[in-house]
Point group: C2
Chain length 351, copies 2
DNA sequence: GTGAAAGCGCTAACAG
DNA sequence: CTGTTAGCGCTTTCAC
């Protein structure tokens, strides 16, 4: 009911006014076809005169192109408050704009499947979560899809761009093992998160390699309350008093761990080393500052978008991409929380 | 050339497979029309069997609805690094998702007009800038448009949602006038910014009302380098040594002003009061902390989206909106930079 | 060089 | 109750 812009001037109007056929008008405006410069100019003129603007819809229907890529996140609204998501978006938008593409933030409101393919040429799924039904649905439309971060087990395969968590975390682990750590604890997201899977893998490999018995505490990916972590870690610490290293996924967990360790009357960064697989300003200001992996959100977003455009340009690429992985380097900021006994003083030194 | 998804199953396929006409299939899936529950179910079944997903393009072309709203910013990529823009987006997305709409960040890459209407039902222009040709172009497509913040002089009219800058700034001015300020300086964006226009208006009114002669320094809206502001303010301060109050638009300008005042061997917050018409964490940490207007970015974004949906639902609203203004309250955080002589000590007190 | 016509996938009249 | 038809605005053969 609502619509059909009445004043809308269409290609047909332009054609009629310019005294050419509708096909010719199309060609003229698009700089296509062979025609006298005169005709072309005349059409262009009448188009501007009439205030003609091409309908992206009509064009899209015909060409199969929408000139937009979509991004999906399980909860875009709250995610927008994190620097990670914001930087990711910035990276993706930068690439999209470079291709003169719009970027659509897909509504994640749909409780039930919508059964309507979004009006985009390809989709980036940020932080794919196992129980995100909408993400799964998006992957069934046969649009090219690239996931920003590892897919959890059991999700359909698609192209994946991930930070090099293994490389980054291994440099942290190498540092702490030198300091004689021998009872590590990892606090990681559960099996709904591919990131969590990867972190646990790296951790397990390292434990195995060094003959250590690590313990594991799984939490939901979206948990963000430091106090909850504080009590969980306290529980772990009571159960295993020998724990001397805590590796956390989220920054909230790291902060919670710091407090929990202090609660035990032990000194974080000396008695118990702490490191985090992600970073934000709170870790720098923490006491002691926490060694952390700086996730390259912006590069990730850019890399996802770039790959998507490759797939758009080359169907063969699109066909091969599912299952493939690209990796973006991640750097580690070493701070007092892993400086250990050797420089323990610096952890609490003040200017 | 690129396209035409070959495997794409269309409504026609479903209709054929279900043994009904294409129109009936459409009605069945949409829960429209009157037909036996049996037929409807059969169609639905075959649809899922075949993996049918409706094309948003075809539907959009027909209905004139795209189920997406667009946002435009002169430079979305860099703006994304500001909390303001991010919060604005979050507000708009929240409302959009509530209506089950996608939100498209329009590409601002286009050096020259694209002459193609974006695939959206309405547009939000964030921070409309006078020399933003793309924004002007967007306003010519006859889509409903709402601007987030005041339009600069000379821009076509549209619906405007703005923070209540007048209210907020006036409470600041009331405070400083009590402290005997009598030579104020305002540093505001130039005529390209409607926000700047508004701030200057409020400032001028206040000066006139109190019989003060204020001075004005105009800068570009996008200027963000505190050092540049530092030297500009220094120039002003040299030219008019009596300046005892500086009102800035941007936080960078406020920080620059602080330094410039100190450069003169005077104490900001005591000898020269400073206040800012926008806020961010840097002003809280500044020395002294700067009194600032807390721009309600999220509410602004939400209000823009909300109005847009009203216009979408009601053509009459859309017709009346251009030229209309809605206002969102803005709060002031009073801090040491305007505490003046009475409590000057607190401006430089340290724990 | 230019025009006519088909059709992208869908919905909305109107027949039957 | 269901099928047919006519487009939405555009691009793209293919005739002329």
């Amino acid at each position: 009911m609502a619509d059909k812009r009445p004043g809308r001037v269409t290609l047909k109007d332009v054609a009629k006014a310019a005294g050419v056929s509708i096909g010719t008008a199309s060609d003229a405006l698009a700089g296509r076809g062979r025609m006298t410069k005169q005709t072309r100019d005349r059409v262009a003129e009448t188009a501007t005169e009439l205030g003609y603007v091409a309908s992206a819809l009509g064009k899209g229907l015909r060409t199969g192109r929408t000139n937009a890529i979509g991004v999906h996140h399980q909860n875009a609204v709250t995610a927008l408050s994190t620097p990670y998501f914001r930087d990711f978006l910035a990276g993706a938008i930068a690439i999209a704009q470079h291709h003169d593409y719009d970027l659509t933030v897909l509504s994640s409101n749909w409780v039930e499947p919508r059964r309507t393919a979004p009006r985009v040429d390809g989709i980036i799924i940020i932080d794919p979560i196992g129980d995100d039904t909408r993400a799964r649905e998006l992957m069934t439309y046969d649009l090219p899809v690239v996931a920003g971060e590892h897919l959890p087990e059991g999700m359909p395969k698609c192209a994946v761009v991930a930070a090099d968590h293994r490389g980054a975390v291994e440099t942290i682990l190498a540092t702490v093992i030198e300091q004689g750590v021998h009872e590590p604890l990892i606090i990681s997201p559960d099996r709904n998160s591919g990131w969590g899977d990867e972190l646990r893998r790296v951790f397990d490999d390292w434990c195995a390699h060094n003959g250590l018995v690590g313990s594991l505490r799984e939490v939901r990916f979206a948990d963000r309350d430091p106090e909850a972590f504080r009590s969980w870690v306290t529980t772990e610490l009571r159960a295993r008093p020998g724990i001397d290293f805590i590796l956390t996924a989220s920054t909230a967990a790291a902060r919670g761990a710091l407090r929990a360790v202090a609660d035990q009357g032990r000194v974080p960064g000396r008695d118990v080393l702490v490191a985090c697989c992600s970073d934000d300003p709170s870790l720098l200001q923490a006491e002691p500052a926490v060694t952390a992996v700086d996730l390259p959100a912006r590069s990730l977003g850019a890399a996802c978008a770039r790959w998507l455009f490759e797939m758009l340009d080359d169907p063969a690429e699109a066909a091969n991409a599912p299952g493939a992985l690209r990796t973006v380097p991640a750097h580690v900021s070493f701070r007092a929380s892993t400086s250990g006994r050797t420089t323990a003083g610096s952890a609490i030194v003040r200017p």
